[in-house]
């Protein structure tokens, strides 16, 4: 199937539609004008303004920490869920287990956020823990839905890695734990890394769930950004966008470079 001229044109238009707003956002970050998306000559002043916005920086630092920690937890639990589903065969309640593991993928964010908030409120009422909402409850919530995504990624990888590899290891004298450590774990390591990155990104990007679960001390970057955008756009947002694209782009370049080096 050779792409006809029409298909190629639509494809390019689609990519332009996806990328043009982002590129313009980044480009106008270097404009001196105080009105966003208005060219007033090249300047880095908005990066300076951004660097002086302590509220935003604090929120960003909190977001990064929550994202990293919740992604770790998500990999641990999501990996365990995937292993149980891929390797334990039939066990009691397996259908319910699988349904619960996949539910966060299809539940609307507002429902996840509201329901988890109600859970934490109920728990606080019953056992006094967790006391109030904040970074910790956001972390748990993000780990909860991040684990669902990790489980999908890892389960796919486990399905690819034959069961007989683990059996061969045991046949050669490895206990199940050693077989897991020396065979299974190295084989699913790429999926665990990919799952961590996915959970990290989801956490870093989430505003709805975090809004439900944040207390006075739980202002993440998306929450701060959301309240800024509600009042209207400022060039600071452009500067932030440029930074994010720069960081994400260089991380991608690094990943591609590493991949290319491993292949060579």
């Amino acid at each position: 199937m050779k792409p006809g001229g029409f298909l190629r044109a639509v494809m390019l238009a689609g990519f332009l539609f996806l990328w043009l707003p982002i590129l313009l956002l980044v480009g106008f970050a270097f404009s001196a004008d105080r009105i966003p998306f208005q060219w007033g000559g090249f300047s880095l002043r908005w990066f300076g303004v951004l660097a002086a916005n302590e509220r935003l920086l604090e929120a960003a630092w909190l977001s990064l920490r929550i994202a990293a920690a919740s992604a770790m937890l998500a990999v641990l639990m999501g990996g365990g869920i995937a292993f149980a589903l891929a390797r334990f065969g039939p066990f009691r309640g397996r259908a319910i287990f699988g349904a619960l593991a996949g539910a966060p993928l299809v539940l609307p964010e507002v429902v996840i956020g509201l329901s988890l908030l109600l859970l934490f409120v109920a728990l606080e009422g019953l056992i006094g823990w967790p006391a109030g909402r904040g970074a910790f409850t956001i972390l748990l919530a993000h780990a909860g839905f991040g684990a669902a995504y990790v489980a999908v990624v890892v389960q796919a990888r486990l399905a690819e890695a034959e069961r007989s590899l683990e059996e061969a290891a045991m046949d050669l004298g490895a206990t199940p734990f050693v077989a897991f450590r020396t065979i299974t774990l190295p084989l699913i390591a790429p999926a665990l890394v990919a799952g961590w990155l996915l959970a990290f990104t989801l956490s870093l990007d989430d505003v709805v769930i975090a809004s439900f679960l944040s207390g006075p001390a739980g202002t993440t970057l998306p929450i701060a950004l959301f309240s800024m955008l509600r009042l209207g756009l400022t060039p600071e947002v452009n500067a932030l966008g440029a930074l994010v694209v720069l960081v994400a782009g260089s991380m991608l370049a690094l990943a591609l470079w590493l991949l290319g080096r491993r292949r060579a």
Partner: protein, 340 residues
């Protein structure tokens, strides 16, 4: 050496092993022959320790094997898919079991070199499994098991993943290796030629139990059940019953052979043991030639007998025209009595 009695295993409601008995001698090449669903792979997995039987005993030199987990059994297995660790080099694959056993580096090195030499893979130590041909992968899998110096090696369809051209040579090499190492080999296969050619003894499995066991020549010449006879290439099985020392077959429309054991319930005839009679010879059975196919060296004839059964006959010369009446005969020794 290895002794299994009354092994039972079912998966849900599906029985895989049904009271299976088996005894393997030290140093022999043993083949487990059977179709899919015969239980041969399950049996292998029970011997390796990956499946626990529901009932029965399993001993190695008198020692109970069932409570021993797979990693502690002095038995190694070569998987049908070879199960080579994709993230390790050939040398690391072979070293894996030695490391688990705590063999020191120097001894490990010399043993790996020796076993790679044995299977003819010198120089490929640093390769990854993905960079090997099918035959090379098979040798790595073999080396990885043999380096453990098992007393008993289980081989699950070792030649199934190889090209047809490679199979024969590999089989002979496999037997040479078995002789050289002195380990007992249990090979699972669905290919009767392979089993007959390589094994010291074969067991034909049917529906989870041993249908017949013995040296290949004996099992081939004297199958005892319909299943074994068909599985080992006897093209014709005629139903009937013994009366007054004579085997009466209604579907053949004639009495076939005498001096058969009283328990005979059917007889098997190989296509190559039946000949067409000429005019001055009395046929054992008569029929009509239905079809003939040229096979290069000879013709395969399908002959419909008077009683309704059809016989396959190998004939060395151009056959008569289809529809001709034909008389058939065979030597008394060619009649193989079946008891089940």
């Amino acid at each position: 050496m290895l002794k299994a009695t009354g092994l039972e295993k079912r998966f849900g409601t599906v029985p895989a092993l049904v009271g299976l008995d088996l005894a393997i001698n030290a140093g022999e090449f043993f083949a487990l022959l059977g179709g899919s669903g015969s239980g041969k792979s399950t049996l292998l997995r029970v011997l390796a320790g990956f499946e626990a039987p529901d009932a029965g005993t399993l001993t190695l030199d008198g020692q109970d094997l069932l409570p021993v987990p797979p990693w502690a059994r002095p038995i190694n297995m070569m998987f049908q898919s070879y199960a080579l660790f994709p993230h390790m080099s050939v040398a690391d694959n072979v070293a894996y079991g030695l490391k688990r056993a705590g063999v020191v580096t120097e001894e490990r090195r010399s043993r790996i070199a020796a076993v790679l030499d044995l299977v003819g893979l010198q120089g490929l130590e640093a390769r990854r499994p993905q960079q090997l041909s099918g035959g090379q992968k098979q040798r790595v899998a073999l080396a990885r098991s043999l380096v453990m110096r098992p007393r008993l090696l289980l081989l699950d369809e070792p030649m199934a993943a190889l090209d047809a051209g490679l199979r024969e040579r590999t089989g002979l090499e496999l037997r040479a290796l078995q002789r050289k190492t002195g380990a007992a080999f249990i090979m699972v296969t669905h290919d009767q030629q392979e089993a007959l050619a390589l094994a010291d003894r074969i067991a034909v499995l049917e529906a989870g139990r041993v249908a017949q066991i013995g040296p290949p020549q004996e099992v081939y010449a004297r199958p005892t059940t319909r299943f074994v006879a068909r599985f080992l290439g006897a093209a014709n099985v005629l139903e009937g019953r013994m009366r007054d020392g004579v085997f009466e077959s209604v579907e053949a429309g004639a009495d076939i052979g005498s001096d058969l054991p009283a328990a005979t319930v059917a007889v098997a005839l190989r296509a190559e043991h039946i000949r067409l009679t000429n005019t001055n010879e009395a046929p054992v059975v008569t029929g009509i030639l239905e079809d003939a196919a040229f096979r290069g060296d000879d013709w395969l004839l399908i002959i419909r007998l008077k009683g309704g059964a059809s016989l396959r006959v190998v004939h060395p010369a151009p056959p008569p025209t289809a529809g001709s009446a034909i008389g058939l005969a065979w030597g008394a020794a060619s009649v193989m009595p079946l008891f089940a």
